[in-house]
Chain length 176, copies 2
């Protein structure tokens, strides 16, 4: 995994892929599946996400204010679903699903070696946590595998149905 | 366009498609292109979105607290880009781009007939507007064309590059 300029981090999340979120609390790493996230600012990259207070990761995220957003390619889809179908309360997910934790540079939660991109994040605003479980994150460091290797991500349409990235089209645009 | 149960509205936005946002202010409808949005709650469906205060739509959204999220299929991609490349300050976009406004049921901004789904929304929380241009919306009414007609949406990867929905895969999942 190589360093990715922070100015390009939005290009990973803006398309709306299903992602994994790692946390670390009391010496133990955990990971959950997440689809409710969006970009909030380009640079420094800010991200909003919803982590339900019913999720085991909620307590870790709120207490430690750190996480990693790891982005899986389609090949990892069965694992992504399996991760979403159990809880860190009673499963050590990294071990159970054969995920390789890699030390991050700025935060305690691990990167995931099996994901093609990883974003180290800290929580910078919790004003909407109590009402909506909505966290504002700042991306401190971004990693990805070579951008020359094409990657297809997955987009959740509900109940385990995912649209896989298909054709890529390029239109002349002034939009960043 | 038919009524879509509010409980299914999240299935339209959770995959992260590029959408259009219509507003109406001082008797005039406007439309912008938007990729920074996410689901916040299933039911009633709540949505977060970022509308930059540099966008002409920002003033309308903040003042009227109403909008429609219209979801375009890939066939509309050139129009979606063109909408994003000009401002309602100096362009009457509905006329310029041949979009057909349709009266909504609960809000003043129009639905867009050319989009396969439309969500009528009101702003319910503005606490993060000043700092992040982030609005929390409640979906009041959802519309879509027949779900039996397959639709491909587009996902923006930056600078006019879009991933089009490809293969749809279904995995056994307990996730909604």
């Amino acid at each position: 995994m190589r360093h990715l300029p922070l100015s390009k981090a939005y290009q990973l999340l803006e398309p709306g892929p299903v992602v994994l979120l790692t946390t670390a609390h009391r010496g133990r790493a955990n990971v959950m599946t997440m689809s409710w996230h969006m970009m909030v600012e380009f640079e420094p990259p800010l991200v909003a996400c919803v982590v339900s207070d019913a999720d085991f990761s909620f307590t870790a995220l709120r207490a430690t204010k750190e996480c990693v957003i790891a982005i899986p390619a389609v090949e990892l889809a069965p694992t992504v679903v399996a991760i979403g179908n159990c809880s860190g309360r009673n499963v050590r997910k990294f071990e159970r699903f054969g995920l390789t934790p890699v030390a991050a540079e700025y935060v305690t939660p691990p990167l995931i070696a099996e994901c093609f991109a990883n974003l180290e994040c800290k929580v910078i605003d919790t004003r909407l946590v109590n009402k909506y479980d909505l966290f504002i994150l700042e991306v401190l460091k971004a990693w990805r595998t070579s951008p020359h290797v094409p990657v297809k991500t997955i987009h959740h349409q509900g109940y385990g149905k995912f649209a896989v990235d298909g054709e890529v089209i390029t239109l002349k645009s002034k939009m960043r």
